[in-house]
C-alpha cells in the first residue's frame, strides 16, 4: 500500500447519546446528544465555558463522561482512552514537542505504530506536503511562526490516517489574516481526504464559513444543530440569534397580523400567519429595506451613526425611546437622514 493512498481510509460517524459531564458541582455537559455523519465537517460553536471543548475532549477520550455513551460507527468507545482510538487531535497551543524537530514530531505517531523507516519517511513527506510545508523537516518548533507550527501540528495528526480529526480552537492563537487562509486550507484537506472532522471554535464567522453543520452550545447544552444557513437565518432562540452575526431585536406584541412595537411603532407581518401574543421580533440588518414613501406600516427613524465597511455601509438608526436598529445596505446616506424601513425576513420568538 502506498503511503498516499487514501481510498482505504475508514469513514467514521460519531454518535453521542445523553453525555453528562460534571466537574464537582459544575455541570459542564448536560445530557448532550448529537449525530455527526461520515465525512462531515461538524463544528461545535459557543462562547467560552459552554462545554464545547469538554465535549470534544470526551470524544477523544481525554475526559471520561460522568454518564452517557459515545459511539464511533456504532462501536461503544465511551471508556476507551485516546491511545486506543485512531484519532487526530489538533490543539489550540499547537502542542509541538519543543525538543523534537518537525520531522521527529510528525514521525512520532508512525514510530509508535512500528512502521518501517522508508514508510515513515514517505508518509511524513506526504503529510507535510498536505499542509504545504515541504523542506522544513529539520527545523525546531520555536524557529517557526505560529501558523507554521499549527500546520505541522495538523500534519502530525494526519500522518497516522486518523478515523476522525478533532480540532480544538486551532486558529485562535493566530492573527486575523492567517486565520482566514488556514481555515480554508483545513477545510480543503478535510474534503480531499474525506475525513470526518469535529471542529471547536468560538468564532461564529469561522464556523459559518467552513462547516457542513454547526451545533451551537451554551451552558453545557446544545441549543441548535443545523447547516450554516439555518443557524444564521432561522436561529432556534434569541441566544443563537444574538450570538451569530448582527441582529435586531424588537420587543412587542402580535395582534391581528400586525406587530406592535412596545415603543409605538407598528409593522405589518407578511409571509405567514403569526400566532398572537407577546413576542420579540428578530431581523438581520441586511433584511431591512428602505421604502421611499410611507405605504402602510413601517419603522421610521433617523440615522445617528454611519459605519463604512467598504462595499457595504452599516447604519445605526434611532427609532425613538432609546431603541435603535442596525441596517446594512449599499446605498449612501448621511447621519441625520430620516428614513422608513420595512422588514423582509424575520423570526418571532414568543415570551
Amino acid at each position: 500500500m502506498k503511503a498516499s493512498d487514501n481510498n482505504s481510509r475508514l469513514t467514521t460517524s460519531v454518535t453521542i447519546r445523553n453525555i453528562q459531564k460534571n466537574f464537582g458541582k459544575l455541570e459542564a455537559l448536560k445530557q448532550v446528544s448529537l449525530d455527526i455523519r461520515e465525512r462531515e465537517f461538524f463544528t461545535l460553536l459557543g462562547p467560552s465555558g459552554c462545554g464545547k471543548t469538554t465535549l470534544l475532549r470526551s470524544i477523544a477520550g481525554f475526559e471520561k463522561p460522568t454518564d452517557g455513551k459515545i459511539f464511533f460507527n456504532q462501536k461503544d468507545v465511551t471508556d476507551s482512552p485516546p491511545w486506543e482510538k485512531n484519532i487526530g487531535f489538533v490543539f489550540q497551543n499547537y502542542a509541538l514537542w519543543p525538543n523534537k524537530t518537525v520531522y521527529q514530531n510528525v514521525a512520532y505517531g508512525l514510530e509508535l505504530r512500528n512502521k518501517s523507516g522508508s514508510f515513515i519517511k514517505e508518509k511524513v513527506a506526504w503529510a507535510l506536503d498536505m499542509v504545504g510545508l515541504g523542506g522544513i523537516e529539520k527545523k525546531f518548533p520555536e524557529e517557526m511562526s505560529g501558523g507554521q507550527q499549527q500546520r505541522v501540528s495538523i500534519a502530525r495528526a494526519l500522518v497516522i490516517d486518523p478515523e476522525i480529526l478533532l480540532l480544538d480552537e486551532p486558529l485562535s492563537n493566530l492573527d486575523a489574516k492567517l486565520r482566514i487562509s488556514l481555515r480554508k486550507q483545513i477545510r480543503e484537506i478535510q474534503r480531499s481526504l474525506k475525513l470526518t472532522a469535529v471542529y471547536v471554535t468560538h468564532d461564529q464567522e469561522e464556523a459559518l464559513e467552513i462547516s457542513d453543520r454547526i451545533a451551537v452550545m451554551k451552558g453545557g447544552e446544545v441549543l441548535q444543530v443545523g447547516v450554516p444557513e439555518d443557524i444564521y437565518n432561522k436561529p432556534a432562540d434569541l441566544f443563537v440569534a444574538d450570538f451569530i452575526g448582527k441582529a435586531n431585536f424588537l420587543k412587542g406584541e402580535v395582534r391581528n397580523g400586525f406587530f406592535y412595537h412596545s415603543e409605538g411603532q407598528v409593522l405589518q407581518l407578511t409571509g405567514y400567519e403569526a400566532r398572537e401574543g407577546r413576542a420579540t421580533l428578530f431581523a438581520r440588518p441586511e433584511s431591512l429595506e428602505r421604502i421611499e414613501k410611507r405605504e402602510g406600516d413601517c419603522i421610521s427613524g433617523s440615522i445617528i451613526h454611519r459605519y463604512y465597511l467598504g462595499n457595504l455601509k452599516r447604519y445605526l438608526i434611532d427609532i425613538g425611546n432609546n431603541s435603535t436598529l442596525l441596517w446594512e445596505t449599499c446605498a449612501n446616506f448621511q447621519e441625520g437622514d430620516k428614513i422608513c424601513l420595512k422588514v423582509n425576513n424575520y423570526e418571532l420568538y414568543y415570551a
Binding site: 477523544a60 481525554f62 482512552p81 485516546p82 491511545w83 485512531n86 484519532i87 487526530g88 487531535f89 490543539f91 489550540q92 497551543n93 499547537y94 502542542a95 509541538l96 514537542w97 519543543p98 525538543n99 512520532y108 505517531g109 509508535l112 505504530r113 518548533p141 520555536e142 501540528s153 502530525r156 495528526a157 497516522i160 478533532l166
Partner: protein, 682 residues
C-alpha cells in the same frame, strides 16, 4: 474486588500509597515519638555505695532525681518519691544491704537482662544495677554479682560487689508537663532559647544589610564582572556550614594565627563570633534571592514612577523595594531558619555557648540509653519556633500578591566613576569576608600542625594522613550522598507528578502537605526522631548507613519535589495529550515526552541537593556511628577541641570543596544552556 483490581491497575496510585506510608513513618511517626517523649519522664534515680571498710551506705548527692533520700542517725536511708514513703536502705556489711518496704506491701524480686535486679513492692518498682570501677591492681575475678540472697515479707537482702556503685532507678514512664516547665524555668535552657533568637535576629540583620544593598547595586548598575561575582557567591552558598566557624577560630580563636601574631586579648569565641560567622553563612542566600527578585522586576514600573516625578530614592523605597519584597522575604526567611537551626557554627566557635540545636545535641549525648526527654522537649520547642517563623512568612506573602512579570530587558544603568569604585571596593571587602574561611583552610591544609597550633613548615602530610587513614569517609560521603540523591530523584519525580498531574482526591493533598514538613524540621531534631524510632526492633537501623541515607533523603525531599514540580508546571499537559492521541500509553507518553523536557531541570536540582547533602552536619552528628563516618563528621571531630588535628580537618575540607565546586561548575553551565532552550516555549 473491583476496587482492588483498579488499584493494582494504576501504578501511580500504588506509588502514591507507598510514598505516603514511607513519609508518614519517617516524618510523622518520628516527630510524634519526639512529642510523646517530651511529655514523658522517668520516675527518677539515685546512686549509693558502701562506705570504705564499713557497713554504712553513702549517697551520691548529685545523682538524685525524682526521689528524696533522708539519712537517719543509724546510717539508714529513707527513700521517698513524691512524699510517699517507699523503702529504707540499710547497709549491713561491705557489699550487703537490707531493703525494707514501707508502703505496706511485701517485696518480690526478679533479675533483669543486664545482670541487675528489679524489686517491686506493690506498684512501686525499682531497677537496681551495679557499676564497678576496678582499682589498678585488683583482680577482676573477685567480682561479686548483684543478687538477692534473702527475701521474706517486706524485707529483702541484697549482695553486691563491695566497692561498686549501685544505681537505683524508677524506669516507669510518667506522662507529665514537667519537662516543659523545667525547660522554661531553668536558666540553662531559657538562655539557650534566648541565645538562639539573638543569633537569628542579629545574623539575619547583618546578612540582610550586606546582601540586600549589594544585590540592589548589582541589579541596577552595569558592573564588569557581575557573573563572576554571582558565581563566587553561589560557591559560597554551598560551603560546609561549619567551615566558617573553624576557619575564623583558626584565625581569631584563643590560639589563633592573628590573635597570637598581634598578641590580642580579644578572641572570636563567644556570642559575637557566632553572630559574625553565621552572618557570612547566610549572606549568600539573601544576596542571591534578592538579586533575582530585583532583576525580574518589570522596569517599566520603575520608569513609570520616575516619569510621574518620583526621585530615584523615592522610587526605590516606594516602588522597587515593595515589589521585590516577596523575594527578599523569602531570602530573609531562609536566612532566619538557617541561623536558628545551625548546629555547627555555635558548637565549633564556642563550646559553652548554648543555643537550641547545641543544647539538644548535648542533652542527647548525655542521655544515650535514657529517655531523651529534655532533648525531645527542646526539639518540640524548636519545631514550634520554626513553625512560627514559617507562619509569619506565609502570612506576609499571602496578604500581598504580585504578578511576577519578567521584563524583557533588565533595567541597568551605567554607574558613574566614583560609584563604580565604591561598588567594587564594597564587593571586594564583602567577598573577602565571605571567602576568608575558604582561603584560610586552603592555606592551612598545606602546613604542619602541632597540638592545635599551625607551624610554618610546609607539608603534604595532612593529605597523606587523609588518604592513609580517612579515605573511607570520602567513600561514605559519596555513597550515602549519591544513594540519598537518587532516592530524592525517584520520589521527587513521582510525588511531584502525582501532585501536579494526577490530583487524587485526599491522598494527593495529604502528600503535598506531608512532603513540605521536613522543610521545617531542623536537622538535629530529625536526627533525634530517627534515633527514637529506629533504635529498637522491628526496625533497628541506628549505626548503619541506611539511617544516614534516610535522613539525607528526607531533608532534601521538599527541595527535590518543588524543583520537579516547577519543571512539570512548565510542560503543558497538551504535550502529553498529543502523544496519547497518537497512540502512546500513559507511561510511554510520560517517559518519551515529558521526561526529556524536565530532566535538565531535575538534574540541576538533584546536583544541588547532592552538594547540600555532602555538607550536612546537624543530623549527621547525631546519627553517624563508625565505620559509617562521613567527611563532615571527620572535619567536625577534628575541629572541636583545642588540640585537635586542624591539619587533617583542613585537608579534608579542601577535598570536600573540590568535590563540591567541580559539580557546581557543570551545573551552572548546564543551567545557562537550559535557559537558552526554553522549555516553556508553548
Amino acid at each position: 474486588m473491583n476496587f482492588r483490581w483498579k488499584l493494582l491497575n494504576d501504578p501511580w496510585k500504588i506509588f502514591t500509597i507507598i510514598a505516603f506510608l514511607l513519609l508518614t513513618l519517617l516524618v510523622v511517626v518520628s516527630q510524634i515519638w519526639i512529642g510523646v517523649s517530651s511529655f514523658q519522664r522517668d520516675g527518677g534515680s539515685f546512686t549509693v555505695r558502701t562506705e570504705k571498710g564499713g557497713p554504712r551506705l553513702l549517697l551520691e548527692e548529685e545523682t538524685v532525681s525524682g526521689f528524696t533520700l533522708d539519712s537517719s542517725c543509724d546510717g539508714k536511708y529513707l527513700v521517698r518519691q513524691k512524699k510517699r514513703m517507699l523503702y529504707t536502705l540499710n547497709g549491713k556489711a561491705p557489699g550487703k544491704m537490707d531493703i525494707t518496704s514501707l508502703n505496706g506491701e511485701s517485696i518480690s524480686f526478679m533479675p533483669d537482662d543486664d545482670g541487675g535486679v528489679v524489686i517491686s513492692a506493690g506498684p512501686d518498682q525499682l531497677w537496681i544495677s551495679q557499676k564497678i570501677f576496678s582499682g589498678l591492681f585488683e583482680k577482676s575475678s573477685s567480682q561479686q554479682d548483684l543478687e538477692v540472697v534473702n527475701a521474706e515479707g517486706k524485707n529483702i537482702t541484697l549482695q553486691y560487689n563491695a566497692g561498686a556503685f549501685l544505681l537505683f532507678s524508677d524506669r516507669n514512664k510518667l506522662f507529665t508537663l514537667s519537662n516543659y516547665l523545667t525547660f522554661l524555668s531553668r536558666s540553662r535552657y531559657v538562655t539557650a532559647i534566648k541565645n538562639s533568637f539573638i543569633v537569628m535576629v542579629f545574623s539575619t540583620a547583618i546578612a540582610a544589610f550586606f546582601g540586600i544593598s549589594l544585590a540592589y547595586l548589582y541589579a541596577r548598575f552595569k558592573m564588569p564582572g557581575t557573573s563572576l561575582v554571582l558565581t563566587i557567591v553561589t560557591m559560597a552558598s554551598i560551603s560546609p556550614p561549619f567551615l566558617g566557624a573553624y576557619a575564623w577560630r583558626m584565625l581569631l580563636g584563643g590560639s589563633g594565627l592573628i590573635t597570637r601574631f598581634l598578641g590580642l586579648n580579644w578572641t572570636i569565641v563567644g556570642m559575637h563570633g557566632v553572630i559574625w560567622v553565621i552572618s557570612w553563612l547566610v549572606f549568600p542566600i539573601v544576596f542571591l534571592l534578592t538579586y533575582d527578585s530585583f532583576t525580574s522586576l518589570d522596569h517599566s514600573l520603575r520608569e513609570c514612577s520616575m516619569s510621574l516625578g518620583g526621585t530615584p530614592r523615592r522610587t526605590f523605597f516606594f516602588i522597587e523595594l515593595p515589589l521585590a519584597m516577596p523575594g527578599i522575604i523569602n531570602g530573609l526567611y531562609m536566612a532566619m531558619m538557617t541561623s536558628f537551626t545551625d548546629f555547627g557554627t555555635p558548637y565549633v566557635i564556642s563550646l559553652d555557648l548554648n543555643v537550641l540545636p547545641v543544647l539538644i545535641y548535648k542533652e542527647y549525648m548525655s542521655e544515650v540509653g535514657g529517655n531523651l526527654s529534655f532533648a525531645s522537649t527542646g526539639s518540640m520547642l524548636m519545631i514550634f519556633f520554626s513553625s512560627l517563623i514559617l507562619t509569619a512568612q506565609r502570612f506576609y506573602l499571602a496578604r500581598r500578591s504580585y504578578a511576577s512579570i519578567k521584563s524583557k530587558q533588565p533595567s541597568v544603568r551605567m554607574p558613574g566613576r566614583i560609584r563604580k569604585i565604591g561598588i567594587n571596593a564594597a564587593t571586594a571587602v564583602i567577598l573577602l569576608f565571605a571567602f576568608l574561611p575558604h582561603l584560610t583552610v586552603l592555606i592551612s591544609a598545606f602546613f604542619e600542625w602541632n597540638v592545635g597550633v599551625m607551624t610554618s613548615r610546609f607539608t603534604l602530610g595532612n593529605f597523606a594522613s587523609l588518604f592513609h587513614s580517612n579515605l573511607s569517609s570520602v567513600g561514605v560521603t559519596l555513597f550515602t550522598g549519591i544513594t540519598a540523591t537518587f532516592m530524592d530523584f525517584v520520589f521527587g519525580l513521582g510525588i511531584a507528578y502525582v501532585i501536579v498531574k494526577k490530583r487524587y482526591p485526599v491522598v494527593a493533598n495529604a502528600l503535598n502537605l506531608l512532603v513540605m514538613v521536613p522543610y521545617l524540621i531542623p536537622g538535629t531534631v530529625l536526627g533525634l526522631g530517627f534515633i527514637l524510632i529506629f533504635n529498637q526492633p522491628p526496625i533497628l537501623l541506628t549505626g548503619t548507613w541506611v539511617i544516614l541515607v534516610l535522613a539525607y533523603f528526607i531533608r532534601k525531599l521538599p527541595y527535590s519535589v518543588k524543583s520537579v514540580e516547577s519543571a512539570l508546571y512548565q510542560v503543558h499537559s497538551a504535550l502529553e495529550e498529543a502523544a496519547k492521541s497518537l497512540g502512546a500509553k500513559p507511561a510511554r507518553s510520560f517517559f518519551q515526552i515529558t521526561f526529556p523536557l524536565i530532566i535538565g531541570g531535575i538534574i540541576s536540582g538533584a546536583t544541588l541537593s547532592f552538594l547540600q547533602i555532602m555538607t550536612e552536619i546537624s543530623a549527621t552528628i547525631i546519627l553517624y556511628r563508625p565505620p559509617w563516618k562521613p567527611m563532615t563528621a571527620v572535619i567536625f571531630e577534628n575541629t572541636i577541641d583545642a588540640g585537635a588535628d586542624f591539619g587533617l580537618a583542613s585537608a579534608m575540607t579542601v577535598l570536600l570543596m573540590a568535590l563540591l565546586y567541580i559539580p557546581l561548575y557543570f551545573v551552572t553551565i548546564k543551567a545557562r544552556k537550559a535557559k537558552e532552550v526554553r522549555i516553556e516555549s508553548i
